[in-house]
């Protein structure tokens, strides 16, 4: 970890800073470190929202706090100690592999449909970040053989519960929406439920496995 460059902290208006990092692993590590700090470090008390993404972590603070004063370098330095599986839950999602793009994915990857399913169920995924819609989680850990581009033009309606892949990610659509990822199957688990605590089944850091039903 010593060779990883220090994060670059970019001002982002009165209430936030954007921390630029080199990749997903670094984002995951700093996101966990900041979450740990929010539980115990008074310097993190002003943070109200933290939004991890592919190469950035956005930290938004209360109106009476100064985002420029956040000790991000200290949290970055402490990441190895604090970032050990803050969220060590493993969620197992049972999938009916009958998605409308399954055959296309097999063709694009040169695998059989069974091999696609075996590779998709064979991996351990981690939620890298959310953001597209409530409860949507970008899962990393996808078998590199399953990397396929998203559809040239998005579907007008992807059904709720669709299990999909695109680029280096897999995901489950929490609700029906337009979407351009390739659909492998469906799962029945509620991904987002405002009456549940926590409402989102998958949060940054959560581990996920898929099993075939």
């Amino acid at each position: 970890m010593t060779d990883v460059p220090a994060p670059r902290v970019v001002p982002y208006g009165d209430d936030a800073v954007l921390v630029e990092l080199t990749g997903l692993a670094e984002v995951r590590a700093l996101d966990d470190a900041v979450r740990a700090a929010r539980a115990s470090d008074p310097d993190a008390a002003g943070i109200v929202d933290q939004v991890p993404a592919a190469r950035t972590l956005l930290l938004r603070v209360r109106e009476d706090a100064d985002p420029g004063a956040l000790p991000i370098e200290r949290w970055w330095a402490a990441r190895s100690a604090s970032a050990v599986d803050i969220d060590d839950r493993e969620v197992v999602l049972a999938v009916d592999y009958d998605g409308s793009d399954l055959a296309d994915v097999a063709r694009l990857t040169g695998l059989t449909v069974d091999e696609v399913v075996a590779r998709h169920t064979g991996a351990l995924y981690t939620v890298a970040f959310g953001g597209f819609m409530a409860g949507f989680a970008y899962l990393v850990g996808l078998d590199p053989m399953l990397r396929v581009p998203r559809l040239d033009s998005p579907r007008e309606r992807v059904p709720a519960g669709s299990v999909a892949i695109a680029d280096e990610f897999s995901a489950v659509y929490p609700a029906a929406t337009p979407g351009g990822w390739r659909l492998l199957g469906r799962c029945e688990e509620a991904l987002f439920d405002v009456d549940r605590d926590p409402p989102a089944l998958l949060q940054p850091g959560t581990h996920v496995r898929f099993t075939a039903r």
């Binding site: 209430d15 939004v51 993404a53 959310g130 409530a134 987002f192 409402p199």
Partner: protein, 292 residues
């Protein structure tokens, strides 16, 4: 006040229940939402001695008609227009006592876009993830208010209104949005100067999600032409430039992440102004260094 309510006779174009929103859920894709002009909701709440975060009504362009069920105390703030209590004209930023059966009627607003109606005790609808706000992007919170709805009023706070009205300066003829540099200002040629020099007009595709502007297209530097940006977190007031070069300024129901460069950010003290611009308005960007 127990059992008091507001009966909606006519919601006008769009009336939403809003409080100060639901911070803390952005990491699972749920934005803050809340009153677009939070300062106006806070002022209206203070006038009726509510907690500043009590839920009130956000009325787009006026037209709302309400009938008091039981005696209620209300106050209006934000966009101004003629207002009547039964047949008597009444003012904004003032404490209004409505006897049971009295009708409050908001005419078409003459300046601004969103008027806030606070009621002593707050609008008592179920809270979702800690907020009674409608988030139009995420589809969370109460549905828009409809004719015939009877909105329960919560228990009155312990305090009493301490002033009858609050003086508020008249809105300026031309809206100025003070901005500071955003994270990707360097993707564009001299972008802050060009934003400030431009004559921008608010388009009809403007909502709680974003204020969309049209004007001289902003061009990327040759180094950044065609470059893709992985999605990253967004904030209220972020000025994003999509490939057509026409800036989009994000409002309270903004998506939590976005994939186009953010070149500038509207200062916090002007977020209320941003909520009050109307389609067709001309706006200018100014350097946001000074605080107002």
């Amino acid at each position: 006040m127990t059992g008091a309510a507001l009966e909606v006779i006519d919601p006008g174009l769009l009336t939403l229940v809003e409080d100060l929103g639901r911070p803390g859920w952005a990491h699972v894709g749920v934005g803050r939402s809340g009153a677009a002009d939070a300062g106006a909701l806070r002022l209206a709440n203070r006038l009726v001695a509510n907690d500043e975060g009590a839920a009130g009504l956000e009325v787009l362009l006026g037209g709302l008609r309400l009938r008091a069920v039981g005696d209620v105390t209300v106050a209006l703030a934000g966009a101004r227009g003629p207002t009547w209590l039964d047949d008597r004209p009444v003012g904004h930023e003032a404490v209004l006592e409505l006897r049971s059966g009295a009708e409050l009627r908001l005419g078409t607003v003459t300046s601004g876009l969103r008027t806030y109606v606070a009621v002593r005790g707050g609008i008592d609808v179920p809270s979702v993830l800690g907020s009674r706000s409608t988030d139009q992007l995420a589809g969370l919170g109460p549905d828009p208010v409809r004719a015939g709805d009877v909105l329960a009023v919560g228990p009155a706070p312990a305090g009493w209104p301490v002033v009858d009205l609050a003086p508020v300066p008249a809105p300026p003829d031309r809206v100025e949005l003070p901005v500071v540099r955003g994270p990707h200002a360097d993707w564009f040629e001299d972008v802050l100067s060009r934003l400030q020099a431009g004559d921008w007009r608010v388009t009809p595709a403007t909502s709680r999600v974003a204020v969309r502007l049209t004007g001289p297209a902003l061009a990327r530097t040759p180094d950044h032409a065609g470059r893709e940006l992985p999605s990253e977190g967004l904030v209220l007031g972020a000025v994003q430039v999509p490939p057509d070069g026409q800036p989009v300024v994000f409002g309270v129901d903004h998506p939590v992440t976005g994939g186009y460069p953010v070149v500038a950010v509207v200062r916090r003290y002007a977020h209320g102004r941003l909520a009050q611009v109307r389609p067709g308005d001309r706006v200018s960007f100014v350097h946001g260094r000074a605080s107002v």
